[in-house]
């Protein structure tokens, strides 16, 4: 089994669509809850992760320039992450297809955790 980070993205409009009214938020949140429960029940939930606020600060370069951001001008915001345990990338992708955010304009980026990085450096 390997670990995979799911990065969830959506446009600001899509986010508003999902959480705009209390009823919509209620529906989105219970769909989310159901999906996470399913992952956990099947033993795939390695880390329940955290959602992220849309805005923060960006620190960049040797001069450590601080700007508002991170992605005020970006079309898509990172909404948060979870860590899933799966046999391989194919299974991780399959599991991601159940994400309720995909019903709107959201996307799930499935990224294997690179366990060998330090090992390669050492070579």
């Amino acid at each position: 089994m390997s670990d995979f980070v799911y990065l969830f993205r959506a446009s600001e409009g899509g986010r508003r669509q999902a959480l705009g009214t209390p009823e919509q938020a209620q529906r989105s949140l219970s769909a989310w809850l159901a999906w996470i429960r399913e992952l956990e029940a099947k033993g795939h939930l390695k880390d329940p992760g955290q959602p992220l606020e849309p805005a923060g600060r960006l620190v960049r370069g040797p001069k450590k320039v601080v700007t508002d951001g991170p992605y005020v001008e970006a079309k898509e915001l990172v909404l948060g992450f979870i860590v899933v345990e799966a046999r391989d990338l194919a299974q991780a992708v399959d599991l991601a297809k159940g994400c309720p955010m995909l019903e709107g304009d959201g996307s799930v980026e499935v990224r294997p955790v690179e366990a060998a990085m330090l090992g390669q450096l050492g070579r």
């Binding site: 949140l29 219970s30 989310w32 809850l33 939930l45 329940p48 955290q50 959602p51 948060g80």
Partner: protein
């Protein structure tokens, strides 16, 4: 609300659940004092409790483990708020209350402790009110509740309604609801003799039981019938002056016809089972009273024979007391008096004012106002609240005017 919160925190953190509810109530009182009571106080309270629950989860999540059913869902902000939201949704609250009721009836707890726990956790009654219902001391009840909560916490999770123990626990749950209703009906606590809201709580929880098909047995229907038929008399239990009105003096036009009809229908449905239980018999007694236009036209032979059967399957000094009163109605006060004197375990009625009051009533009817007065005075000394006191004072005065 405690049940909903226990679903989140787990039974081992019952105290935390109670703290959160307490906190929400305190907050409500403080805010309402300044801004006035909101349009929908229960929704306001619910929202406050949810927020307090979220605070508690965030504060405690590294230090404690919560409900095992929720796994790791409370570790993440993705799912924390939805889990709290879900716990407070109406169907969940209903299920959790049922599970809590059944959890309180743990076989390792003696029955009185089970009942005390339900009254405390699900109905929010204090140790003093519960002590009144059981005719025991407050300290004893506090001990019972504390011990009960320890057993609950040891069980790790709330009772699963599909468990094989379901039927055994169901019977303890019914008994608890019965006693809860009695506490409201005969109220021993200081505030008021008839606390309608306690009866309503018992009826609410019984209805909850009946909504869950495996719990809606003939015996449960008999209990529901009994509660309806007694509740129907509540509007007449206090007279216009707010004084306790005994069955004989009640204005029967004030009995709730809707509840009587519902009770009779339930009693009919309760006949579907093979067993005749104490609830069936008590409901039948209440139905006999409900069918009569007055004390004089009541079928007392029927009432006495029902009490005989009740004594055979569920003997108690209070049942014996009521049976003696029914016999006095059927055969006259002399026979009633004999029965009253013959009650076994009369010691257990020592703190119960209606035992000497019944003796006073019968002595009055036998034409012995002096003896009656003594009994009523003894009853008065045992009165547990102002309503009982006023009622018994009136009875004492009634003897005085007779003896001139």
């Amino acid at each position: 609300m405690v049940a909903a919160l226990t679903r989140i925190f787990g039974v081992q953190n019952l105290a935390l659940a109670e703290d959160v509810v307490q906190d929400a109530f305190c907050r409500a009182l403080t805010v309402w004092k300044v801004r006035g009571v909101p349009d929908n106080p229960s929704a306001w309270l619910m929202a406050t409790a949810k927020n307090r629950a979220l605070d508690a989860i965030r504060r405690e999540r590294t230090a404690r483990t919560f409900a095992p059913e929720l796994g790791r869902l409370l570790e993440s902000e993705w799912t924390t708020a939805p889990v709290v939201e879900e716990a407070f949704a109406a169907p969940t609250i209903r299920d959790e209350q049922l599970r809590m009721m059944f959890s309180c009836c743990h076989p390792r707890l003696p029955e009185p402790a089970q009942v005390a726990l339900i009254l405390n956790i699900l109905c929010g009654f204090g140790a003093k009110e519960i002590a009144g219902a059981f005719l025991t001391s407050r300290a004893a009840i506090e001990k019972r509740i504390a011990r009960g909560k320890k057993v609950l916490a040891g069980a790790k999770r709330l009772f699963d309604l599909r468990d094989t123990e379901f039927t055994a626990r169901l019977s303890a749950v019914r008994r608890a609801l019965y006693l809860l209703f009695s506490e409201g009906y005969h109220g021993a606590s200081a505030e008021s003799a008839v606390r309608v809201e306690l009866c309503q709580e018992a009826m609410r929880l019984t209805a909850l039981l009946r909504e869950h098909p495996p719990a809606a047995t003939p015996e449960t229907n008999a209990l529901a019938a009994l509660l309806c038929l007694h509740a129907a008399r509540l509007p007449a239990r206090l007279d216009a002056g707010g004084d306790l009105s005994p069955l004989g003096d009640q204005d029967r036009s004030r009995w709730d016809a809707g509840l009587i009809a519902e009770g009779l229908a339930l009693l009919e449905r309760s006949a579907a089972g093979p067993r005749l239980t104490a609830y069936h018999i008590e409901a039948a007694i209440a139905a006999t009273h409900a069918a009569a236009a007055s004390v004089e036209t009541t079928d007392w032979r029927q009432v006495v024979s029902l009490y005989d059967r009740l004594m055979a399957i569920a003997p108690s000094p209070v049942v014996a007391l009521n049976r003696a009163i029914a016999i006095a109605q059927r055969d006259g006060p002399d026979r009633g008096m004999e029965e009253l004197r013959a009650i076994k375990d009369r010691d257990r009625l020592k703190g119960y004012p209606f035992h000497p009051a019944a003796m006073g009533e019968l002595e009055l009817r036998r034409g012995n106002p002096r003896a009656a007065r003594k009994h009523f005075a003894a009853a008065l000394a045992l009165a547990r609240n102002p309503t009982e006191r006023r009622f018994l004072q009136k009875r004492v005065r009634a003897c005085g005017s007779l003896s001139g």
